[in-house]
Symmetry: C3
Subunit: 446 residues, 3 copies
C-alpha cells in the first residue's frame, strides 16, 4: 500500500502563452478542453483532466492506492465508466451517457439487466420544476445504481420494462490529485485548493480550476516571499488525503483559499475561515471592499467545500472560500444548465484579478518602524512634499505617507494602517516603499 508520486511536467512547454492580456481566453480554452470529460472522485476522467491542466502548469500528479487510510476514511475503489444507457426492449436508447455524462449516478455499479418500470423509477433522478435540466447526483459510498435525466425524458417512459446497461468498473485503483509548489524565500505557505472531481459542470468547478491555473501562471512570474501550493483535488476525499499525507506541512500554512464557482455573474462571495479573524479573512474583505463592485462576506459554516476539512478543529487552518455565487444559491447549480454558456469571461477575469490583489496584500503586508517617530519628519527636503502649503485637499498619496509615518510604530502592519486609513493596501504599500527609499522606515522582525 505504497503511494506513488509522478512528476508530469517539470517545466513549462515552450508554446505556453505568457502575456497577461489573454487571461480570459486562456481560461475559457482550458474550460472547453475539460468540459466534455467525465470526472469523478477517482478514475481516468480525472486523471486525464489533471494531465490537461499539467500542459499549462508543471503539476505533480499524486496517485494514492485504494485502501489507503486517510484520517477517518479510506481511499475508495476507482470507478471508471465507458458507457451507460436505458433502452427499450427493442434497443432504442432513451437515456444515454454518451449524450451527457451527467446521466449516470456517479459510482453506479455495473449492470446489464431488464428492469421493470416500477423498479427503474426508484433509481431515477429528475427535476420536476426545471423539466429540461439533468440533475447531477452521486452515490460514492452506497452500493447502488441510478440515472439522472430530464423530467421530460422521465415523463416519456411508457414501457413496462427497460434494459439498463452500465458498463463501468469499480475496482482497486488510485485516487488522483494534482499539486504545484512554487517555493518562495520562506517556508511559510499559501494554499489554494480547488475541487476537480465534477463532470460536465462549468461554474462548479471548471471555473475554479481555470482561475487557479492562471493564478499559478501569474505566481510563476511574480516575485514572492511565501511558498505557494496549489491543489487540484477531488472534493472532500482529496483534501482529507492531502491533509493526511502532509501533516508536517500543515503548520506552515499561513493563508489559504478554496476556489470555487468563479465564473458566474453573481457578486464575489467570501466565506470566512473558521477563525473568522484570520489575516486572510481581513485581507480578502479589504480587497473586495476597495474594488467598488458588490460583494458578500459570510461567516464560516461547516458545510460547503474543502474548507470544511481544512477548518476541522484538529487543523483549524486559516482557509476561507472564495466564490462568486455560493454552492446551492444559483438555479443552474448541480444541473446540466451549469454549462459553458453560463460562465462569463469577464467574471473569470474579475475573479482572477481580485485573487491577484489578495496575493499583493499577502506578499506586501509587513511591519515597519518610523526612524523619525517624534513629530513629523520633513518630507519636503526628502522630495516627498510640495513647497507651497495651505491647499485644502492633500493628495491621497500625501495622506498615505502621513498615515504610514504615524502608525509605523512596530505594532501596526501595513495592512493595519491601510484598514485604519480606509485606503487601498496598494496605496499604503507604495507610501512605505517611498519612505523606505528615503530611510524614514525600517522593517521590524516579525
Amino acid at each position: 500500500m505504497t503511494t506513488t508520486t509522478l512528476n508530469v511536467l517539470n517545466s513549462l512547454p515552450s508554446s505556453c502563452p505568457r502575456d497577461d492580456e489573454d487571461d480570459g481566453t486562456a481560461m475559457l480554452e482550458l474550460m472547453r478542453d475539460l468540459y466534455p470529460i467525465c470526472r469523478s472522485i477517482t478514475g481516468n476522467g480525472t486523471r486525464r483532466s489533471l494531465a490537461i491542466i499539467g500542459e499549462r502548469i508543471p503539476l505533480r500528479i499524486h496517485e494514492v492506492p485504494t485502501g489507503t487510510p486517510i484520517l477517518d476514511w479510506t481511499v475508495p475503489k476507482e470507478w471508471n465508466i465507458r458507457s451507460a444507457y436505458i433502452a427499450t426492449r427493442d434497443g432504442c436508447r432513451v437515456v444515454d451517457f454518451a449524450d451527457s455524462n451527467l446521466h449516470i449516478l456517479q459510482y453506479s455499479r455495473p449492470m446489464d439487466r431488464i428492469v421493470p418500470i416500477a423498479e427503474l423509477q426508484e433509481h431515477l433522478h429528475s427535476l420536476p420544476e426545471t423539466p429540461d435540466r439533468i440533475p447531477y447526483r452521486t452515490a460514492y459510498f452506497a452500493d447502488t445504481w441510478g440515472f439522472c435525466l430530464t423530467q421530460r425524458q422521465r415523463d416519456s417512459l411508457n414501457q413496462a420494462e427497460y434494459r439498463v446497461v452500465i458498463d463501468a468498473t469499480l475496482e482497486d485503483g488510485h485516487l488522483s490529485y494534482g499539486e504545484l509548489v512554487l517555493p518562495g524565500d520562506s517556508e511559510e505557505e499559501v494554499l489554494f485548493s480547488c475541487h476537480s472531481c465534477h463532470p460536465s459542470l462549468a461554474n462548479d468547478n471548471l471555473s475554479g480550476i481555470a482561475v487557479a491555473t492562471r493564478l499559478a501562471r501569474h505566481l510563476e512570474r511574480r516575485a514572492h516571499r511565501f511558498t505557494y501550493r496549489l491543489l487540484f483535488i477531488p472534493g472532500m476525499l482529496g483534501s482529507l488525503t492531502w491533509l493526511s499525507r502532509n501533516e508536517h506541512i500543515v503548520p506552515k500554512v499561513r493563508h489559504g483559499l478554496v476556489l470555487s464557482c468563479l465564473g458566474d455573474p453573481g457578486a464575489t462571495t467570501y466565506k470566512q475561515s473558521r477563525r473568522g479573524d484570520a489575516a486572510i479573512d481581513r485581507y480578502v474583505a479589504h480587497v473586495l471592499r476597495h474594488r467598488g463592485s458588490p460583494f458578500r462576506v459570510t461567516p464560516f459554516t461547516p458545510y460547503g467545500y474543502d474548507e470544511r476539512q481544512y477548518c476541522s478543529p484538529g487543523f483549524d487552518l486559516p482557509v476561507g472560500c472564495f466564490m462568486r455565487s455560493p454552492n446551492g444559491t444559483f438555479p443552474e447549480y448541480h444541473t446540466s444548465a451549469d454549462n459553458l454558456e453560463f460562465v462569463r469571461e469577464d467574471c473569470l477575469v474579475d475573479s482572477l484579478e481580485k485573487l491577484k490583489a489578495v496575493v499583493d496584500v499577502i506578499e506586501g503586508d509587513a511591519t515597519y518602524r518610523s526612524l523619525n517617530p517624534k513629530g513629523e519628519p520633513q518630507l519636503g527636503r526628502r522630495g516627498l512634499y510640495g513647497a507651497i502649503s495651505g491647499h485644502k485637499d492633500p493628495a491621497a498619496a500625501q495622506m498615505a505617507l502621513l498615515w504610514t509615518l504615524n502608525l509605523a510604530d512596530g505594532r501596526h502592519t501595513l495592512f493595519d494602517i491601510a484598514e485604519r486609513a480606509e485606503m487601498p493596501f496598494a496605496d499604503i504599500r507604495d507610501a512605505a516603499d517611498r519612505l523606505i527609499a528615503v530611510k524614514l522606515l525600517e522593517p521590524v522582525a516579525s
Copy 2:
C-alpha cells in the same frame, strides 16, 4: 436573638397533581387562593401565604426575629392588621380595609381618632388620572399612617371630620420567608427568587409566586446536576435577610433569576445581571431569541426587584430579572387593577415554558472535545448520514452534527456552538448526545 427554622412540609402531599398538562390551571388556582390575603413584608398574611404555597411544594419556612441585624439593616417589627376604616361621625364607613386590603397604607400605626378633613387629606393617596383605581402604597420605615382610595371616593369626602380607625399591631415578631432546596449532583446552585410581600396584586407578584411554584414542581421531577434553590421572600428585606444568613452559599450560586410580573400579556423582558455577560444573561437571551415571539433584553440598573441586592458589588451574583412587563411600565402596576382578571393563563404558561427551556440550557451546557478532530469523521458508517449526497439543503439535524463536530475543540461549550450556529440549544444538545453515543465526542473537565 436567635433565628428559628421550621420545616413545614418534608414531602409532597399525595393529592398533588403531577401531570404537566394543567400548569395553567394549577397556577391560576394558587393565585386565587393567595389573592385575598393581605401580605406585607412581615405578618400573618405572609405567613399564611407561605403555608398555602407549602401545600404544593415542600417549603421550609424561616422566621427571623425582629431586631436581627441583616447587613446594614435590621429586621423590623412585625405588622399585623385586623381592620381599618374611615367613617363619618354617624358611623358610615366610606373607606374600609374589608373591601380591599390595598386601602391601608402598609405599616400604618394603630389609631382611633376623629380627624379634621384637612389633616385626613394629608394622609390619603389616590390616582386622579385613573379615578376608579386604588393605589398601593407602603411606609415601612416611617412612623405614620394613611389610606389609599379611589379618586372618586376621595372626591366624595364632604364632611368636616371623620373617624379614622386602624386596628393594627406593630410589635416585635418575625420576618417570614420560604425556601426550597432541591439538591443536585453538584453543590453549585441555581437561585430563583420571587417577592411574596405584596397584598392583593395579581401580576406583581402572585404570578411570579405561581410560576416559581410550578417550576419547583417541574424541577422535582426533572433530573438535574445543579442544586436548585427557590426563595419566596419579602422584597428587599427578604433578600438582604437571606444573603446575610447564607454568605457561605453565595459563592456556590452559578446562575440566578428574580421572577416577577409573569402573567400579563406583555412581551417577556429579561433584565441582565450587573455583569451583563454572565452565562445566565446569554442563556436567557438565547432562549427568548429562539422562541419566535417578541421579547426585550434590557441592561442592568440598580433599581427594580431583589436583583438590586443580589447584584450589589459585595455579592455581584449572576442574577438577572425575568419578567413580562417590567415594574412601572404597565398602567395597572401597583393599583387595584392589577387583579386576577389582568393575568392571563396562556401568559403564565408561556413564562413557565421559557423558564423550563432556560433550565434545559443550564443543565445541558457543557464542554466536549471531538475524538476525530482532523477532518470530518464518516457519519455514514456510524448511522448518522444518508448515503446519497448532493442534496441542496441538509437537514438542520445534519448541520447541528457538523457544527458540533467542528467546534467541539474543548474551548467552545455546547452553548457557544448553538450561538455560533444560530441554532436552538436543544438541537446542538441533541447532536452532541448522538455523537457521544457513537464515541465521536468526549466530555472535557470544566
Copy 3:
C-alpha cells in the same frame, strides 16, 4: 544657540475683569485687538499678539533662535514685513498689503522689480469660485514670492507689466511662543494648545486663542489637582519646538486638547486622539452627548492641526482636537471671509462652557469603593431617601446614588459609572460627594 525665556507677566494686572458673566464680551474684545495684526510662524506680529494675550493671563514668552534644531526640523529665519504692493507703472497700487495682510504670500522674499504680466500671473493666488474673497497662502519653506488677491482684482489686471514691491526681511531671529503653567496638586498635566500664527483670520484661529485665554482665566480661579499648561504657538513648528524642548514633560501629560475654530456656528466637532480610546476621548464625547446640541466625534487622522505632532508615534500623547467646523469644511476657511463677522459670541461661549465641563470631568473623575458593598445601605437613616416608598419614578438624584453605590467596587471610576448609568458626569460626581459625606464611599488609590 541658546534659548531665552522671558516672563512677561507674573501677576494679573489689577484692572483685569474677573467676573464670569462677560466671557463672550471679553473673548470678542481680545479677537478685535488681535485681528488687524499680521501674524506668521515667526516675526513681530506674532510677538505683539502674545504680548496682548499676556495682558489677560500671565503668559511666559519663549524666544527660540533661528537655526535651533527642533526634532527633524530647524527654527527658520524670522520673517517680518512692513509693506507690499503691486502697482502700475504710473504708481497706482492695485493690490496692497496695507488693505489686508492676507494679500501677501507668507514668507515672500523681499523684492522691488518691474515684472511682466505673464511672470506676475505665476505668482498670484485667487479664488475663481468666490471672486470677492482673498485666499490665505503660505510658502514657509520655499524661496519664492507671491500675492493673494480677489479674482475680481486679478481680472482687472490689464497692463503689460507691474511694479512689485515687497518690503520684508527674512533674517536670523527667533520663533516666539507663549506658555502658561498653572500648577496643581499633582505633577500630572493637562495640555491645551492653540495655534497663533495665522494673520487676519477670525475663526482660524483667533477664536481658539480667545477661548483658551478665557479658559486659562477660569482655571486660575478654579481649584484643580492637575497642572494645566496652555500653549500659544505657531502651527506645526511651534508644537515641534515645544516637544523638542520639553521631552521631560511629555510623560506627565495625562490629557490634552488642541483648540481651533471655536467661534463659527457649526456643531462642535471632536477629533479623537491617535489612541481613540484615551480618557480625554471618552470625556469629551460624554460632555458633548449630554449637552443636548448636535455634535460630531471623528476618528484621528494624521492631518489637521498640532495633534499631528502630539500624536506622532514617538510621543503618542492623549491629545484630541476640539473644534466647531473642522479645517477645510466651511467655505470661509483660509479666506478673507473668515473675519470677525463670521464668528458668533454665543458660539464662543458655548465652546468655552463645554471645555469647562470637560475640565470638570478631568478634575472630578476618580475611583471609590463602597464601604457597604453587601446589599444596599440604608439611605433613609443617612438622610438620603424619602421615607415613603413605592413611587413610580425615583428622582435622577436617587438613581445617581444607587448607580454610584452599585458600581463603586474599586474597578469603576466615577466616569465609568456615569457612562454606564447614561447620566451626566456631574450627577454622579454629586452623588459620590454626598455618599462620601455619610461615609459610604472611600477613595481608592489610583
